[in-house]
């Protein structure tokens, strides 16, 4: 019951904020809505027993990436309205309709495919059982999610992890090169 209340509240807020993000006239407002949106999504993650990802969501998305957006929005302080010119060939509104259509179709598919009602929870396909932290309690707030995630990340997904760190390094260098006026 409580879960349902929280979920529906969050869902409405998330979607509403999402719409505000894409519809806000001021870019700064967009950013603000985005931050709140992300924070709410983080709460959603906590509900789903993914505390670590939730924290990361706040730390990286809200605390890092969106700050970056905010910076850029401010640096690009436009004297003229950013959207004053529209190319006559654009198909934005058709696109919106199309997106709506796709959404409807997806909903149809999802609803239709969940006809079986309760999806069977396949316990422990890969997760707690495989990690040394199997004995951890499953409390909603005090659990071993972080340890397990760390274990999986540094064993099974070690190479992707390293690749990702390499990607970040390259991106960092690339961003510096792009943004710096004189090297």
């Amino acid at each position: 019951m409580a879960e349902a209340i929280v979920f529906w509240t969050l869902a409405v807020l998330i979607l509403g904020l999402g719409i505000m993000v894409i519809s806000a006239r001021s870019a700064v407002h967009s950013v603000l809505f985005l931050v709140v949106n992300f924070l709410l999504v983080a709460v959603l993650y906590v509900m789903l027993n993914a505390e670590f990802v939730a924290v990361i969501q706040v730390l990286v998305y809200a605390g890092g990436i969106v700050v970056l957006y905010l910076f850029v929005v401010m640096l690009v302080s436009l004297k003229k309205a950013p959207e004053r010119y529209a190319d006559p060939r654009r198909v934005a509104w058709t696109g919106t309709l199309l997106a709506g259509a796709v959404l409807l179709e997806v909903v149809a598919i999802v609803v239709a495919s969940s006809g079986g009602g309760e999806p069977a929870a396949t316990e422990g396909a890969l997760g707690a059982a495989d990690t040394p932290f199997a004995e951890c309690g499953a409390g909603p707030l005090v659990s071993c999610n972080t340890e397990q995630l760390g274990w999986v990340l540094y064993t099974s997904y070690l190479i992707p992890f390293e690749v990702a760190s390499m990607l970040l390094l390259v991106a960092m260098i690339g961003a510096i090169v792009l943004a710096k006026r004189h090297l």
Partner: protein, 102 residues
């Protein structure tokens, strides 16, 4: 309606995804387009986390971590490009960014 299943999360995810898509299609400010893309990524993340919880499989969360990392990289480079472009052209209107078409 009161029982929250992964189906609900999936629908939420799909809706958020489509909001992002619409943002990408409609807005002309590149920064906002980027933000829409972040929305899309988040929508995907919701789906992944929900299914990870459902299946009791950490792979979903791991994937989210990677998505966040890639999103950070994408934001850094993308915004860098925007800054560089803005410095030269004084605009962030995507309709005016089309000189590379040939």
């Amino acid at each position: 309606m009161l029982e929250i299943t992964p189906l609900h999360y999936s629908l939420l995810s799909a809706a958020l995804f489509m909001i992002g898509v619409i943002g990408v299609l409609v807005r002309r400010n590149v920064i906002i387009i980027f933000m829409s893309i972040e929305l899309i990524l988040n929508a995907v993340n919701i789906n992944l986390i929900a299914l990870s919880d459902q299946l009791q499989d950490l792979a979903g969360q791991v994937f989210v971590v990677f998505v966040i990392a890639v999103a950070a990289a994408e934001a850094a480079v993308g915004l860098g490009i925007i800054i560089a472009f803005y410095r030269n052209k004084e605009t962030v209107n995507i309709d005016e960014i089309q000189i590379m078409r040939w």
